[in-house]
Symmetry: C2
Subunit: 356 residues, 2 copies
DNA sequence: TTGAAAGCGCTAACAA
DNA sequence: TTGTTAGCGCTTTCAA
């Protein structure tokens, strides 16, 4: 009550006056550096307590030219929880190191991404993390301003740090599981145009996942069959449930092309969820009649049946991105570091051995 | 390139020197206020452009005693996407009004919540939004510091603003749908102890949803049957897939208690997802044999079959919370405002008329 | 129409 | 061991 009505907020100056010392001394006890006599320290500490002093981080930042803040550019959290989990990881690492994090959502728009970076630069953040960057030039913007940048998932800018996953190997990991279970008629469910690459060159993420599928089959001596791929031209979906509808439609295509399909590798949980819907509608049992493997491990465990999936350590990727940015901050040499995280296969209930 | 190697960053002072005017004049053209002669303005604008000047928001905040920043306390995004969507809404409203948002995750821990608020206060944010607050005293902390606070979903502090939903009415909305379809043997799937209230008094959210179920049945002249409730003592689940496992287990209990159940109202999508898993394992078709209604509309559309659910307008709730905080900022009277958002029933494929 | 100057709250030489 | 002081970059009276 008393606090609330006291309009004047305590400053280092008012505390100094109250304790009968200089502001420099207050600053010293505040940060525990420099020499302060025991008796003086106590007096200052009492004054600090009595006045309800709270350090003004804004003034401190101006003076120190450090905000102890990380800026986080989000590619949009909806509909993919991937970003949310990475964000939580970044936040975790930041707070553990005394940093705070500003977030900015691009909603997938490059112009907004630029605006977000500009905004962060204006606020003098100490580092910027992109999950996921849309344009390399926007990443470069931060670097040109002398601020370390870290990209998560996809690297667009050669001078930024990065935290990635080996998509090719991960995809093979999922395939190996299916192959080990005895499957050979395995369909591939990718983002629109993953297979045809119609919309310009595939980005490496999609390409790598598809390559993992192709090479795994090849190495097992199984020819890649056209009827196990969706070649479009199927329209890019635009809607609230991004990815699910695509999965639903593509699964139908796959089924039409090869009614004897026994397994499917999906390049995201979203796509796999859509596939599960189509299968459910047809009364086709998973994994009894067909096995499904997803990718990401976002909400895979919530589906029916719980989905076997290739897990990306999203939270950990966020943590490492945050730590990397902080590490870069103090390293004048600004090395370009790339950290690679390991994926893991999470076996749940959507895969089973092929029954002959 | 030239920019990058120029270590000296442009300040209002360097711009003033370059344009041959005072810093006051630069400030005037920067903000378009005060009188500036056309010719002078042009000279300053050129200097601004040539030097790549970027306003220092830190210095501005110190001087103006306004950071144009909102602090967002998150109750943890995992495993419930509810928080992520509200967060995006807050961010949207903030950016639309020129604000930035700092985020802080409490992970459901009241002590961390306190630390988060303290951190925000130290950084002099202009407002704090809680999604969802854990302790009223932490909300009060912000208010005592003279900063507006807004609570989303649950209100714990009488002097804070709030954005809520009518849980009782929403629950009845879901029930009405089931009743309209002709169901009468309707089970209730709530959080652990929603029915017994064993862990102390139920918070109003859980209580209201359960009341909606009870009263809807009563008003339809259907007695509330014990076998349609889960009375525990079933252990509170602790794990990565919070809620789903509970839904799975409780659905089994419901099935054991009444094998002739024809419908279930779940108090969250998470619980409904778990129910779907149990049903799938038993080969019980949804909605042919049993209808399910969820709550929230987070990932309901991704389940198989797509889940009919009572939708909370999460993004909109975030937007309104952000706008409310900003509005409160400039209102000296600091009125206590509560905004109530309407839920809506989203009918998908998990509900169907009772077949006699 | 413009400029001088006083700070916002804090830190860190430097001096005492 | 402590204090004095000069700013960090910006805004805003007030005077010219």
């Amino acid at each position: 009550m008393a606090q609330a009505s006291t309009r004047a907020v305590a400053t280092i100056k008012s505390v100094a006056a109250r304790a009968g010392v200089s502001t420099a001394t207050v600053s010293r006890v505040l940060h525990g550096n420099g020499y302060v006599a025991g008796e003086t320290r106590e007096r200052v500490e009492a004054a600090l307590r009595d006045s309800g002093y709270r350090l003004d981080a804004v003034a401190q930042a101006l003076r120190r030219q450090r905000t102890i803040t990380l800026g986080l550019i989000l590619h949009g959290i909806l509909p993919n929880p991937f970003f949310a989990e990475v964000a939580m990881g970044v936040e975790h690492a930041a707070v553990a190191n005394g940093f705070n994090v500003l977030m900015f959502n691009t909603d997938g728009d490059a112009e907004r991404e630029r605006a977000g970076v500009e905004s962060f630069l204006s606020r003098r953040v100490d580092g910027v993390i992109f999950t996921t960057a849309l344009r390399g030039e926007n990443v470069q913007l931060a670097i040109d301003a002398g601020i370390p940048a870290v990209e998560v998932e996809r690297r667009l800018c050669k001078s930024a740090g990065a935290v990635v996953v080996d998509n090719y190997a991960s995809s093979r990991q999922g395939m190996q599981h299916l192959l080990d279970l005895g499957h050979s008629r395995i369909g591939y469910l990718g983002e629109p145009d993953t297979v045809t690459g119609r919309d310009g060159p595939l980005d490496s993420l999609r390409q790598d996942r598809f390559e993992g599928y192709r090479r795994a089959l090849e190495d097992a001596g199984i020819p890649v069959a056209d009827e196990h791929l969706v070649r479009g031209p199927y329209p890019l979906e635009r809607g609230a449930w991004g990815g699910v509808q695509t999965g639903r439609d593509y699964m139908q295509v796959l089924l039409d092309q090869d009614p004897d399909l026994t397994a499917v590798l999906a390049s995201s949980d979203l796509l796999a969820a859509g596939a599960l819907q189509t299968l459910y509608a047809h009364g086709i049992r998973v994994p009894d009649q067909i096995s499904i493997v997803g990718f990401d491990d976002t909400f895979a465990g919530r589906l029916a049946p719980p989905l076997t999936t290739v897990r990306q350590p999203m939270f950990e990727m966020g943590v490492r991105a945050g730590e990397l940015a902080i590490r870069l901050l103090d390293d004048e040499s600004r090395p370009v570091l790339t950290e690679s995280c390991a994926t893991s296969l999470v076996v749940r209930e959507s895969t089973a051995p092929l029954v002959a």
